[in-house]
């Protein structure tokens, strides 16, 4: 008797809406949260725009100690986990916490805090042998991003397996996939699974500047993230976090939980090609999609919505379009495909979890979020990308994909739950 995973809670911290409902309002309205960077003076940088969260950790319910110890990415994870758990109705006093696991994805961990502190201990980059006495007492937490999983486990008393999954830009999907496998394999009954990243910092902007991966549409930040548009010129940096409460089906049923949807399948593959380059054929992403659909025992034609990686780089959107055609066949032309990165930017490892949260909500509310800013047809991107306006439509099966530096390709399939 195989164990099945269902989603019973969703929490989101995203640009333009730091709760789940604000996030969903924004997506369905097709609003964008990209703007000129306010966290530091970006004048020196090639890309000066980002999708920033207006996040107040105190208002989100974090303790002063949690805030003091933690980098912003950990704070996102805690806030999203809090919201997701509250919504799931799970009574932590009643749940078997030995079987409550934590799986948090992050691509770059506490990079922002590490940089901030470095500026101090190195006296603005003057000293290589940095001065310890000026450093925060919590620098070790910043050095090892596993601290995010530790903070989440401690806040909720989760004694099951805990880990951070750090596979670059597929971290969010992979962390939730890992949580799903923990449930399938009987290693946990409930998993707090999601991802967070807070990379809007000078070093992150500089490193993507150096490879010209980010958009330089600085005079028009609101329309800078343009997945699948012929005039796209790179991704727009984002930040945020999302957490899903994954639960073994019978566990959820026994306590009468509201079930949002089922995790039908998850698969990941590697392209073994290049750290940043993608072959135009989309082969390995297609393999991941096919495997995830096989696990869900679904035909490609059953997919009612595809949440694309859609980063807005020239090569990604082409690569992905090819992967959809390869894995879904003719159905790729019929199914709505959209990229919410057009609105919330690309928050590296976090975005996979945020996008999966969007898929859960899309199934629940019967709305396909749009691809904002899509105005000019690119002949190489010739699918239905749901330009500008959300669509009301029943969604039974949502497919979400991710692609990242290092060649990682991941796919997850969510199914409407019917008892």
């Amino acid at each position: 008797m195989s164990r099945r995973t269902v989603v019973t809670g969703v929490g989101v911290v995203a640009p333009g809406g730091v709760t789940r409902s604000a996030f969903w309002d924004m997506l369905t309205a097709g609003r964008t949260a990209t703007r000129r960077i306010t966290f530091f003076d970006p004048a020196e940088f090639r890309s000066q725009i980002a999708a920033e969260c207006d996040f107040d950790p105190r208002a989100a319910g974090l303790t002063p100690q949690e805030i003091h110890r933690s980098d912003r990415f950990t704070q996102f994870a805690l806030a999203a986990a809090d919201e997701a758990l509250a919504e799931s109705g799970l009574d932590l006093a009643a749940v078997d916490r030995d079987n409550l696991a934590v799986s948090i994805g992050s691509a770059v961990g506490a990079t922002t805090r590490l940089e901030d502190e470095y500026v101090t201990v190195s006296d603005h980059g003057r000293l290589w042998e940095v001065e310890e006495r000026y450093g925060s007492r919590f620098l070790y937490q910043a050095l090892v991003p596993s601290s995010a999983a530790a903070e989440v486990a401690c806040r909720f008393g989760a004694h099951g397996p805990a880990a951070v999954i750090s596979t670059g830009c597929t971290s969010g999907l992979d962390a939730i996939g890992h949580g799903h496998q923990l449930i399938e394999d009987g290693d946990a009954d409930v998993v707090i699974a999601g991802a967070a990243d807070a990379p809007i910092s000078p070093i992150s902007m500089a490193c993507f500047d150096a490879i010209r991966a980010t958009s330089a549409r600085n005079d028009d930040p609101e329309h800078a993230s343009r997945p699948f548009d012929a005039t796209r010129d790179g991704f727009v940096m984002g930040e945020g976090g999302a957490v899903l409460i994954l639960e073994e089906l019978e566990h959820a049923r026994r306590r009468g939980a509201e079930i949002f949807c089922e995790v039908g399948g998850f698969a990941n593959r590697s392209n073994a090609f290049h750290m940043t380059g993608l072959r135009p054929d989309g082969l390995e992403m297609a393999e991941a999609i096919t495997e995830a659909l096989d696990q869900a025992r679904l035909d490609p034609t059953a997919v009612s919505y595809v949440n694309a990686h859609g980063s807005g780089t020239k090569q990604n959107d082409r690569h992905e379009t090819a992967a959809f055609k390869r894995s879904l066949g003719q159905h790729a032309y019929d199914v709505p495909v959209s990229s919410i990165k057009s609105m919330v930017g690309h928050s590296l490892g976090a975005i996979g979890a945020i996008e999966l949260a969007a898929c859960v909500l899309a199934i629940r509310y019967g709305v396909v979020p749009p691809t904002a800013n899509l105005e000019n047809k690119d002949p190489e991107c010739d699918l239905d990308y749901v330009p500008k306006n959300a669509r009301e439509q029943r969604i039974d099966v949502a497919l979400s994909v991710g692609s990242g530096f290092g060649g990682f390709q991941s796919a997850a399939v969510l199914k409407r739950w019917t008892s």
């Binding site: 961990g109 980059g125 050095l143 401690c154 004694h159 500089a206 750290m275 990682f408």
Partner: protein
Amino acid sequence: MTRAVVTGIGVVAPSGLSAEEHWRSTLAGEVRVDSRDGTLAGRVAGFQAEGAVDPRLIIQTDKWTWMSLAATRQALDDAKYDPAAHDPYATSVVLASGSGGNEFGQREIQALWSQGRRAVTAYQSIAWFYAASVGQTSILHGTKGPNQVLVSEGAGGLDSLGAARRVIRRGTPTVIAGGTEAPLSPYAIVCQRTSGLLSQRGYRPFDADADGWVPGEGGAVLVVEDATTASVRGARQIYGEIAGYAATHDAYHPDRPAPDSAQLERAMRKALADAGVTPDEVGFVMADGAGTPALDALEARAIRAVFGRPVPVSAPQGFVGRLCSGGAALTVATALLALRDGVVPAVGNLARPGHDLDLVREPRRLDADVVLVNARGFGGFNSSVVLRRHREEGLRDAG
């Protein structure tokens, strides 16, 4: 159930630049921790990226990745496994990474803040982040199976083996697993010092005078295979089976030890149950040996509670320092060599045994087929792995 076995070992560590060098140094009891510029650390001496790593890759990657690529090369050679000779989807890379590309990252942030954003190189975006070693390994060896990167500080090396076994059971027959770490750049050292857990005198697991750990660099990479496909392809040796694995979390406080050892005990018991072995079958325990009085006392208590008898306990990492995610991977390599040769290595750097345990002071004969390995990660992570001599060949080899 599919069995996952280790068929190849690669080591780059303070104790040596190969599995055999490491094993010889460990058995000889050589302390490889030294002080330079006032910093005590376990340093990998004599490692040259040139020769071990493609020159084009050297400039694109951090030292942590160089050591990972070098250890992977050794492990694949040892296993006589060439990923290119197999279906690309038949091999995965599942490594632990505790802190990423430290020296590379410091250099780039230094350049940014002292010279401006144009001084940041194109490779910062692919060298520093925690997935860099896995991505580069997968590309270099052409592997397309499911990859993963586990981050759980010192527990990561064991978690990578647990994840590797999961990948194998789900149908990918061969996994490159383990991990390395290079946390000795000036900033990474400062970050570790702020934890208050580092010793200024030396790393002495379970010693009455233990007062903290000493960081080290390096680690180990293992080739883990489905036992059936390993035997079909005629793998030249099977070091042992990853027979059991479990992970728990203290969930007590993110930077203070739990008041009791309940969750570490639970990880050990679950790993034993997972392997289907009783505590009596375990020949010795490779302990986490964190080297702080509180953490050592908790582990000693957990071992006594689980075994209820004076089981031999070792922690040879005292010879090399604590290698973060690389540490537990190296400990597993050591335990597999112990099984191969029927010798339990000694606790590293132990002068005055400080806990009520049967601490191994000199290498001693090992007659059992099972070893339990513990590893903990800062913040409350507990993992245990049970290694078992592979049944078909094991007893014959031990003869």
